[in-house]
Symmetry: C2
Subunit: 281 residues, 2 copies
C-alpha cells in the first residue's frame, strides 16, 4: 500500500503528518493524520487511535485536540482517521444532513444500498488502517489503544468491546453509548444496516455489554453543559450496563463543559496519561 504525504510539520519535538492513500475498504482516497513523538532510532512505540465525531475529518482533532505535548512526553503515536469515505462518487445524505453520509460513517460496515460499497469504516479503522500504520510508522502492534469523541466515542467503545485482546485501553469524550435508543444512532444504523434491530446490537455499546461483550475498564468524560447529553449521549445507560456487567467505569461529569473541542482539549492530556499507563504496563 502506498501512502502519500500531504504535509509534515515539526511540533512539540515530534512530527505531525497528514497522509493520503487509496483505501481497499472504502474504494476512495482516505486522509488521516499521524503524530510521531521524538524517539530513539529503531524504537517501537505504543499507538493510540482517535476516532472523531459527526462532521469531522482528521483535521479537527489534529488542529484543535492539543494532544501533541502529552504524546511527546509519554512517547505515544497518535492516529486520527477521517469519519467517512468522501468523493464525488460517494453517496451521502439526500438532504445533505450532518448526521448521515459524508462525515458520519458511524464506524460500521454498511450492508444497505447505495452505502455498502464505500461505507466500510468498521473494517477501515479495525483492520486496514492499523495495518497501514504499522507498515509505515514505528509502531509496536502489541500496544494499541483507542478513544474518540461523540460518534467516535461510540466507535472506540464498540471497537474495544469486540476486540478486547487487541486494545489495551479504551476511553471516550461524550460518547454515544446506546445508538439503538437515540435519534442519531437510529438514523445511522437504520440507514447503513437496515431495519433488523438485532443486527444493530453489534454496533451499540450498551447492547454489546448486555449481550456479554467485556472490556477491562473504561474512562468516559462528558460535560454537563453538553447540548446533546440528554437526547443523544445518555451516559446513565452506560453506567447501568457497566454496573450490571461489572466492567469498571470511570465516568466523570465535567461541570460547565459542552460538546466542543474546547471540552475535548481540556481533558485530552488526562486521557492520554490514562492510556499510556495501560499501554506501558
Amino acid at each position: 500500500m502506498t501512502v502519500q504525504t500531504v504535509s509534515l510539520n515539526k511540533s512539540h519535538g515530534g512530527m505531525q503528518g497528514v497522509y493520503r492513500h487509496a483505501s481497499r475498504e472504502t474504494q476512495t482516497e482516505m486522509t488521516f493524520s499521524v503524530f510521531v513523538p521524538p524517539h530513539e532510532e529503531n524504537a517501537r512505540l505504543p499507538v493510540v487511535f482517535y476516532l472523531s465525531g459527526l462532521t469531522c475529518t482528521h483535521a479537527n482533532v489534529t488542529e484543535k485536540g492539543e494532544f501533541r505535548h502529552a504524546c511527546s512526553e509519554l512517547g505515544l503515536i497518535f492516529v486520527a482517521p477521517d469519519t467517512s469515505p468522501r468523493g464525488a462518487d460517494v453517496p451521502g445524505d439526500a438532504n445533505n444532513a450532518y448526521d448521515f453520509g459524508l462525515g458520519a460513517g458511524f464506524y460500521v460496515d454498511a450492508t444497505q444500498a447505495p452505502f455498502a460499497k464505500n461505507y466500510r469504516m468498521w473494517s477501515y479503522v479495525t483492520d486496514e488502517l492499523p495495518k497501514l500504520v504499522a507498515e509505515n510508522f514505528p509502531v509496536d502492534e502489541a500496544r494499541q489503544s483507542v478513544f474518540g469523541h461523540s460518534m467516535g466515542g461510540h466507535g472506540a467503545l464498540t471497537v474495544a468491546l469486540r476486540n478486547p485482546a487487541r486494545y489495551r485501553a479504551a476511553s471516550a469524550f461524550a460518547p454515544i453509548v446506546a445508538p439503538s435508543q437515540v435519534p442519531w444512532g437510529i438514523k445511522a444504523l437504520g440507514g447503513y444496516l437496515g431495519n433488523d434491530r438485532q443486527v444493530w446490537r453489534k454496533h451499540d455499546t450498551v447492547a454489546l455489554i448486555e449481550d456479554g461483550a467485556r472490556f477491562s475498564e473504561f474512562l468516559v468524560d462528558y460535560g454537563d453543559a453538553d447540548q446533546f447529553l440528554g437526547e443523544q449521549l445518555r451516559p446513565e445507560l452506560l453506567k447501568s450496563a457497566c454496573e450490571k456487567a461489572k466492567i469498571p467505569l470511570t465516568l466523570r461529569r465535567q461541570a460547565g463543559y459542552d460538546h466542543s473541542y474546547y471540552f475535548i482539549s481540556s481533558f485530552m492530556s488526562d486521557h492520554l496519561r490514562w492510556h499510556a499507563a495501560r499501554l506501558k504496563a
Copy 2:
C-alpha cells in the same frame, strides 16, 4: 462601549469567549477573543495581548494556539484581536493579495487613501482594545504584556518599544523585525504610510532601536525550517541591533520548525511562563 458575546465555551477550567464590538478606530465591527482563567471573585489578573500574523483572524490562535492550559495554570488573561478591519466597505488589496489589506493591517495607523479611514490597527491594539478589555474583564491594567507571530511579532515588538512603561514583557514567534528592509514590510508600510521612509521607522523594530527606543528585554523564537526566514524575518538584524543597544535578547533558533501554528503551539507555554514571571515580579 458595548461588547456582544459571539460564543463562550468552558475550557481548561476557564472561559474562552469570542466578542464583537463597533470599533471607534476602524469604524467597523471588530471581533476578538478573550480567555479568562479560573480565578477568585474580585481578583484582577494580568493580561497578555497576542497579535496574529498575515491572513489570520482571532480564530487561528484561539483554535490552534494551545495557550489555555498554561493561562489557567499561570492565571493569565489572553486577548487575541483580529489583524485588520473587515467588511464590505473596507478597501483591501486590488489583487486580493494575502500580504496587504484585509488580514494584513500591519499594526499601523494608515495615512494614505483609501486606507486611512479604517486601517488604524496601531490605535486599536494600543488604546481602544486595552481599554475595552479593562472595562469588561477582570484585568489588572498595571500588569500587561504583549507578544505575537510574524506580522504580529512585528506589532508586539514595536508596541513594546514605543510603550515601555505600559508593557511588562514582550516576546515574539518568528517576527518581522525590519519591515523597512523586507518585501512584506516595504509593501505594507509603503501602502499604508506612503513613500517617506523616515515615517516608517516608528513601525520598524530595528529602526526604533537604532533611533534610541529601549525595552527591558525580549524573547524571540524562530524555526530554522521557516520558509520566510531569510527573506522576510531576518532575526540576525534584531540580534545586531539589540547587541549595539545593549537590550537583552533571548533569541532561540528552533531546529526543524516552520512558520505554522505547529511551531507556535510548541513554544506557547514557554512564552507564557516567561510573561508570567515578569507580570508577577
